[in-house]
């Protein structure tokens, strides 16, 4: 019985959300507000249960890790935004977080993107065969794409042509990515329709 009620609620809310494809309407508004409200509430509980309690309170009380007072302090001063006289204190937390993110981002980008990308572009050209053609295309594509992202000079002459070829490579890659992702989204839609026809309407078995 409980499962049946659950299926009916899920199916109803699915249809309410899909009704947005026609136009904004009270059913969509209801589903939207329910969804946003529930998820916002869920994340409050999630933050308490998976962040504040296990990462701050438990280590401080059980393991006496009092060093955690520092991040706790930065967290608490974020709340000073409610008090206009001392709201400037929250900027410390923001500055720390943004600075840390930018700093870590540099090393992460070098290690995760730049060096592996350059290494992957150093491919062997073994002779007149399809593999060589493929590898040459990779090298040429990377070089022209880099030219497209060169900002310090006006794109004239060689730079203009290099940039045009580069953006062509980018668009071809986007086209492939678009098709691939759309296929994945269609499979999500199929999953939802299957739920409606199978679990709810029981047309499919």
């Amino acid at each position: 019985m409980g499962t049946t009620i659950g299926v009916w609620i899920a199916a109803g809310l699915t249809l309410f959300i899909y009704s947005f494809l026609y136009k904004d309407n009270p059913f969509y508004k209801f589903a939207e507000h329910l969804y946003v409200g529930i998820t916002a509430g869920y994340w409050i509980i999630y933050t308490w249960a998976y962040v504040i309690q296990p990462m701050l309170i438990d280590p401080m009380i059980k393991n006496k890790e009092f060093i955690l007072i520092i991040p706790a302090f930065f967290g608490i001063i974020m709340l000073t935004r409610w008090f206009p006289q001392i709201s400037w204190l929250s900027r410390w937390s923001i500055a720390f977080t943004v600075g840390m993110g930018a700093g870590l981002g540099v090393t992460g980008a070098i290690q995760g993107f730049i060096l592996p990308q350059v290494q992957a572009t150093l491919v062997p050209l073994t002779g007149f065969n399809f593999e060589t053609f493929n590898n040459f295309l990779i090298i040429f594509g990377v070089l022209t794409t880099l030219v497209y992202f060169y900002f310090s000079k006006e794109q004239k002459g060689v730079l203009r042509w290099g940039s045009k070829i580069g953006i062509t490579f980018i668009m071809v890659a986007f086209g492939a990515s678009f098709g691939y992702t759309v296929m994945a989204r269609i499979s999500l839609l199929i999953g939802r329709i299957y739920f409606l026809l199978s679990d709810w309407l029981k047309v499919l078995r």
Binding site: Y35, T97, Q111, V118, L122, P124
Partner: protein, 427 residues
């Protein structure tokens, strides 16, 4: 042959004498280890400690066998590291983790015993073996019709490394990058004019804000579902500053629905400062920069609903986007808003290109914030980045030329050079 015969006789004698005592389980210690089978352990290099790597070698004829690895510490406590590994896997790591912090500890001597068997080791035998503290190298175990052989490592101690030497290429790159950035920063400080080319789509910012103002509609600025530590979100916030300034100058309204509370707080600061800079702090309303939810599709549903009701004249999608990108961009398109998007997520850029009027692709987004402000200090960072791009291009061209000589003309010297170049970039 003689040795094997003697071993068999010894086994039979011991089988008869021990059968009644130990329920068909017989240990023959101090034998010659199975030829070609040996196990070694070492501290995992370049790690933060609490990790030991166990490797083993075996004769090809035992390719289908299984290996169980036991750990004994210097205090005589035994525990199981891994059971029934395919012997061909050749390696297992014994590592403490957040989930299992009770495993290897730094500074303690550990001895690892590998038990090689044709059949998967059963639980009863495993429990018996765990109790035994004297499983020495080259112990033969006979259990009914199954035959096991052990090999033990010398003492292994794990320790934390001060430096991760495998990341030296990252350090060198970081030093080069820092040097180039500092050089251009000094150049900018000395008053040298630095150039940045026109970026398509950015001239449309003013047009978009102006159009919204004329239509009496607000502007919606969506920062995506990134956190304030994400670079695209930081770039999105920088562009937000410029857009907010224009909004204040045109005396219109900006809505910033946020996914993350810290991003919301930062966006409030950015917009407030921009309004103040434009001389209109009175127009700033912090409730226009609101928190929606931290659920990806909940956020998308909330922003979509807001778009349909508020009908903004311009929608900016600048930040980190994932699967919700097309949902948001399509809704913006359906209400007829002028849309300017930008992200570094390559999987989402095609959707923005398809559904938005202008799209800032990847690094264009970072350059956009510089282009809009044209501050010498920020321009220097673009110039430095461009020099590094030239350096990368030269490196690729050098690799291309070396590759032709190495593989096209088959010259050994260039092959070595090519391999060195590829290995130097390994992280």
């Amino acid at each position: 042959m003689l040795k094997r015969t003697l071993l068999l006789i010894l086994f039979l004698i011991l089988s008869i004498s021990l059968f009644s005592e130990n329920d068909s389980l017989i240990f023959l210690e101090n034998q010659f280890p199975c030829e070609g089978f040996y196990i070694t352990g070492r501290d995992i290099p370049n790690d933060g400690g609490s990790g030991i790597e166990i490797n083993w070698s075996f004769p090809d004829s035992l390719d289908n066998c299984f290996l169980t690895v036991l750990r004994r510490d210097e205090f005589g406590n035994n525990s199981v590291v891994a059971t029934d590994l395919l012997v061909s896997s050749k390696q297992v790591r014994d590592v403490s983790s957040d989930e299992e912090p009770s495993r290897v500890k730094d500074g303690i001597k550990y001895y690892y015993t590998g038990i090689l068997s044709k059949k998967i080791i059963d639980e009863n035998l495993l429990n018996i073996l765990k109790e035994k503290s004297y499983l020495k190298n080259g112990t033969y175990i006979f259990n009914n019709d199954t035959f096991y052989v052990t090999s033990e490592t010398d003492a292994v101690i794990s320790k934390a490394s001060w430096f991760n030497l495998s990341r030296i290429p990252v350090l060198i790159s970081l030093i080069i990058i820092a040097f180039v950035f500092l050089y251009y920063l000094n150049l900018a400080k000395s008053g040298k004019e630095l150039y940045i080319r026109k970026i398509n789509g950015l001239d449309a910012v003013e047009e978009a804000v102006g159009r919204s103002t004329e239509m009496g509609k607000p502007i919606m600025y969506i920062l995506g579902i990134g956190y304030v530590t994400d670079i695209p979100t930081i770039a999105g916030l920088t562009i937000l500053s410029r857009v907010s300034k224009k909004v204040a100058e045109y005396e219109t309204k900006i809505l910033v629905p946020s996914y993350d509370p810290v991003v919301m707080t930062t966006a409030q600061e950015v917009v407030k400062e921009a309004f103040t800079e434009a001389g209109r702090p009175d127009l700033y309303n912090k409730n226009d920069i609101m928190y929606i939810t931290q659920d990806q599709f909940g956020y998308a549903a909330g922003v979509d609903g807001m778009m349909m009701r508020e009908k903004p004249g311009a929608v900016f999608l600048q930040g980190l986007f994932f699967a919700e990108s097309l949902i948001l961009a399509e809704t913006g398109h359906s209400i007829g808003a002028i849309q300017i998007s930008g992200t570094t997520e390559t999987a989402q850029l095609p959707f923005f290109v398809a559904a938005c009027d202008y799209t800032l692709i990847g690094e264009e987004m970072m350059a956009a914030s510089v282009y809009l402000q044209k501050e010498p200090m920020m321009l220097s960072s673009i110039a430095a980045e461009d020099l590094l791009k030239v350096f990368i291009m030269l490196l690729i061209i050098a690799g291309f030329v070396i590759s032709i000589f190495a593989f096209g003309f088959n010259i050994g010297l260039f092959k070595n050079l090519f391999d060195h170049l590829v290995n130097a970039l390994q992280v």
